[in-house]
């Protein structure tokens, strides 16, 4: 993996104004970098501000302090260079799967022929080839998330942001989706930032884990899962059996527990 930086989060903070003039510091001086073509996982207990950080990267929230830099440019708002997949289903119900996937490209003026070709490619990549003409209401939850992933990737973002994308899915579907993400990352060389509170998911997906402490959110530890020896493992069952997997899991559990105690 090259060490070229795709995304730089420089000491960002976020304060929310509460009713009654009080302030809630959700994120305080969080900083880390995301290397090009890598998968960076933001992990932490609830209340650690991981989703807030992701939303700031997406440009959906403005940092109260610090800055986010992507490809040398400062983030000033949402843009197609940072596509986002949400936990809630976001398929446009009035459009077929194909039209959903073409949506971003159409908005951005990609010519029809190229649009169609790219949509085809990404629909096949996420395994929805047979459902291109179906409406989202005819699809299962996992398939809808596949549509959202294909739609975002087809729009050719520099970074794919995912906010607990598989949180609403059942366990079995979640594993399949995690394996799909590894496959997608390998085939498309997409830089990803994924927010989760699921340890297993973090270990399986991450090239780098940014562990956040809670109240306020700070970077507690940056962990590279060394047991993968710099390669991704496409098979979840195999990953779990590798030496070092359970050590890392135990370490993350300890971090989680420390943070949990801090809250009480």
């Amino acid at each position: 993996m090259s060490a070229e930086t795709a995304l730089e989060i420089r000491e960002i903070s976020k304060e929310f104004e509460l009713s009654g003039g009080r302030k809630l510091v959700a994120v305080e001086g969080a900083g880390f970098t995301v290397e090009r073509n890598s998968i960076c996982v933001l992990l932490g207990p609830s209340g650690c501000g991981k989703s807030t950080i992701l939303r700031m990267i997406a440009g959906l929230e403005t940092p109260s302090g610090g800055e986010i830099v992507i490809g040398g440019r400062r983030v000033e708002g949402p843009g197609r260079d940072r596509g986002m997949v949400f936990q809630a289903y976001t398929s446009f119900d009035w459009l077929t799967v194909r039209k959903n996937v073409e949506f971003g490209m159409q908005i951005n003026g990609v010519p029809a022929a190229e649009r169609r070709e790219r949509a085809e490619r990404f629909i096949n990549l996420v395994g929805l080839g047979k459902f291109a003409e179906a409406y989202p209401s005819q699809l299962s939850g996992g398939m809808r998330q596949r549509v959202a992933i294909a739609r975002t990737l087809a729009n050719d973002p520099e970074v794919l942001l995912m906010d607990e994308p598989f949180g609403a899915l059942d366990a079995e579907t979640r594993w399949l989706m995690q394996e799909l993400m590894i496959e997608v990352a390998e085939k498309t060389n997409t830089t990803m930032v994924i927010v989760t509170h699921d340890l297993e998911e973090a270990i399986f997906l991450a090239d780098k884990i940014v562990f956040l402490s809670s109240h306020p959110g700070r970077v507690k530890e940056v962990i590279v899962p060394e047991f993968k020896q710099g390669a991704r493992i496409a098979d979840k069952e195999r990953a779990v059996k590798l030496d070092g997997y359970s050590d890392l899991e135990a370490h993350l559990m300890r971090l989680m527990r420390e943070e949990g105690r801090g809250k009480e």
Binding site: G59, G83, T90, F92, F103, G104, I107, S137, Q138
Partner: protein, 266 residues
């Protein structure tokens, strides 16, 4: 062990299609049955409550020998014109108010205030402003529905899920495209439903307008009939209005099904 008989009233258990149909038929048979018996037995004054068969005969007569059709057409056109005008203003305004809080902050205080003014209270001044032609009737119908329609559409628009808007933004959509390509199509089925509800209300104002200040239309016919104690004609008017309302409602519901096939579950 003998099976326990199933009670007729079962909590929240859906009834069969057949039972539904029979029940629907039964309530109407009962209604007309009581009506027929009441008027045939002399229980009620036939001058005030004519028998149903007489009402239907009169309805037939009104349409085919007394030119009632043109009154009905006038009434329908008033409803449609006023409702089209109201929708032409309410749909874009409601969607904009629901999309941009700054636009809501400007219009909402005005719109909500008007909602609490009963439209019929404007009849005297509308008659003075517009005379006795079509204008005051259309104005009343317009005033009667527009503020409700705006508010309904605004509320539905605000209910479009934030994630859909944010998805469009992170796909690179500028604001106007988020409104036109995501918020509007997302809220459209609810807009059609809101229009369906408000169309029923337009009929209410139509009858008020025609009863108070008109010489044409269904309402005017009913008021003329009152002068000559023709209760059968009054009841005919009510029946025709009811049937028209039902037809419009069915049309809208068919439109809804036809326009939004994706809402049907597989």
């Amino acid at each position: 062990m003998s099976a326990r008989p199933t009670p007729f009233l079962q909590l929240r258990k859906p009834v069969s299609r057949r039972q539904k149909l029979l029940s629907a038929l039964a309530i109407w048979v009962l209604f007309f049955g009581i009506w027929i018996v009441a008027s045939a037995s002399g229980l009620v004054n036939p001058l005030l409550v004519p028998a149903p068969q007489q009402v239907f005969a009169t309805t037939f007569d009104l349409f085919f020998s007394r030119g009632f059709g043109s009154d009905v057409l006038i009434s329908i056109s008033r409803v449609l014109i006023a409702f089209a005008l109201a929708s032409a203003v309410a749909v874009p305004l409601g969607v904009m108010m629901g999309s941009f809080p700054a636009i809501e902050a400007f219009f909402a205080p005005f719109v909500s205030a008007w909602r609490y003014l009963p439209a019929p209270s404007f009849i005297p001044i509308l008659l003075m402003w517009f005379g006795t032609g079509e204008a005051p009737k259309l104005a009343l119908l317009f005033l009667g529905v527009i503020f409700f329609l705006i508010t309904l559409i605004m509320d539905h628009t605000k209910n479009v899920r934030e994630e859909l808007v944010e998805t469009a933004l992170t796909l690179g959509a500028p604001r106007h495209k988020v409104v036109a390509r995501v918020i509007f199509p997302a809220v459209l089925p609810d807009i059609v439903t809101a229009m369906r509800q408000m169309l029923a209300m337009t009929w209410t104002y139509l009858v008020i307008a025609e009863i108070v200040a008109s010489t044409t239309g269904i309402g005017a016919m009913m008021m003329r009939a009152r002068r000559f104690l023709n209760t059968d004609e009054i009841l005919s008017g009510i029946v025709v209005i009811g049937v028209l309302g039902l037809l419009f409602d069915l049309t809208f519901s068919a439109l809804h099904r036809w326009a939004f096939p994706y809402l049907r579950k597989a």
